[in-house]
Subunit: 316 residues, 2 copies
């Protein structure tokens, strides 16, 4: 089958990857569409030392599931952390932090930039018929945006600032607004800010004193800015994983007793429900779609400054 | 009256400071004893640009209080943040974060390294008779240790690591242990670790996976160590205000969804109650006591590596 593959040196198009077969508890999915995430771009630069097929944002159709035959033929998305299910973290309900987890297309498991994906069937969620493929492919990043609500309860009526006009920033802005927060998004790209505005997100220059600041800037400077914008005892959600070191003076965070909350992945269910109910719009975030065979060009496009989401159309 | 005074250049002993008089709502206190804090040492190096008499850890006897005559003659300690009482922060119960606050001996208000201290009477707390002066002088730093319990509820049964064998670290260790946490203190000074051990605090080399890590190391490296020791979704309490920049990679905090909580001052009431009940011991933390007239020598001693608390005996 056709797949993109990273060998530690370069991303290549592999035309003759073996057809995967489903082991115990596994399913094989025909990928319909997949999204290229900034993490995928980082992976092609060596992030986490991943080798194989990247891709963790996808929608597909189940073509084999020996232990879950009812799934065959259904359209699905998949949670990306494949946990052991038995360790302390897993039994405490924190399977996304299982120390021996594999992560789809990121750690120890091939991902979705391929015609076929093999995945533990327990990871799969059915996609409602009224959520099109081009929206379903956003379930994973949207779940990461919803994670903010898991970690910061009671955002209704709070003043929230989102730093960063990228895909994640715009998703977080929509999620917080839908939850009743008073949201302002701050960014540096005129075109991305236009997209945010078109989605009804308030855009502008933030003033200090916010209850909640989400750093989705992707920049090493974002965190210091976020801390400066938070009110005393306010909350900063850290959504940025920068490969470089942060250099910042955290004394203001101590003096103002600000909480900095690391935030990564979220549950899929609220994201699927929000897309089905139309509470979050994602179509305006899509800048381009390429067939999988043009995947290298798609990555070039995704690496370009100012570009939002680039999709791969894999099969129908 | 006699006072230590910092003029921006050096700490000096001033023998002829004017006797303060109590304005509306104020009290004048005869300082009995005062403690030298690391912040005081930082102030003599230029921290926060403070000018005047430092000293925010003290116990004294009220000698004048025109608007609160019942206080005269009582033995008291004083909360250090003098808030406006009217702004958004104050009315939200966060007076310690009042943006126009003065802070005793730290920001805009003379402190307690003097024979007399003038302070808003509302800041004062009576000291129970069974708490001696040498213990009462620890109310302020002990309140800062209790702040951890305000910010991290439910420490009972949790595995907690304290980084730093200084005064604050040893106080935090005692507070967390009294609250039912499973505490390990980590430090680098054999003698200070002996003091901690003598107080029943478990001392050793920490293993990763702690529910709670308190960085009281006073070192720019402490925070990265603390993040590495916290379990996924664990909490790091930042007690260190380092003048220098931190250099750290916060990606592990994001991936592990660790919360970093800035923590500064705390309420006095639980600290006074703990000292009165003997739940926290402070006498072993005292390394030396100097008369105020030898205050410069006391500061020299307080600056010495490996020294715990140095007290000033001001009057009787």
């Amino acid at each position: 089958v056709l797949a993109l593959s990273f060998d530690g040196d370069a991303l290549r198009l592999a035309r003759d990857q073996p057809e995967p077969t489903a082991g115990p508890g596994e399913a094989v999915v025909a990928v319909l569409r997949a999204g290229i995430c900034s993490t995928d771009v980082e992976i092609t630069r060596g992030y986490l030392g991943f080798r194989g097929t990247p891709g963790h944002e996808w929608v597909g159709r189940v073509i084999a599931a020996p232990d879950a035959p009812a799934l065959v033929g259904t359209r699905v998305v998949g949670e990306i952390n494949y946990a052991c299910g038995r360790c302390t973290m897993c039994t405490a309900g924190m399977d996304r932090h299982c120390p021996t987890r594999r992560v789809c297309g990121i750690v120890g498991a091939d991902g979705a930039f391929a015609e076929r994906l093999c995945i533990p069937a327990a990871q799969l969620h059915r996609v409602p018929d009224d959520v099109p493929d081009r929206a379903a492919v956003f379930v994973e990043p949207l779940a990461a945006a919803f994670a903010v609500l898991e970690q910061v309860p009671d955002v209704a009526g709070r003043r929230a600032i989102i730093l960063g006009d990228g895909k994640l920033g715009i998703l977080v802005a929509q999620v917080l607004r839908a939850a009743g927060a008073d949201v302002l998004l701050s960014g540096r790209h005129a075109r991305k800010l236009d997209v945010a505005r078109s989605l009804g997100v308030t855009v502008g220059t933030p003033l200090a004193g916010a209850d909640l600041v989400v750093d989705a800037s992707g920049s090493p400077d974002g965190l210091a800015t976020a801390v400066a914008l938070a009110r005393p005892r306010g909350i900063v959600v850290m959504k940025t994983t920068v490969a470089a070191e942060h250099r910042l003076d955290l004394a203001p965070a101590v003096v103002n007793e600000v909480s900095l909350v690391g935030s990564r992945c979220g549950r899929f269910a609220p994201a699927i429900a929000a897309l089905a109910a139309g509470r979050v719009a994602v179509e305006p975030l899509i800048d381009a779609e390429y067939p999988l065979a043009d995947g290298l060009a798609a990555f070039e496009r995704a690496r370009t400054r100012g570009v939002l989401k680039v999709l791969l159309a894999v099969s129908r």
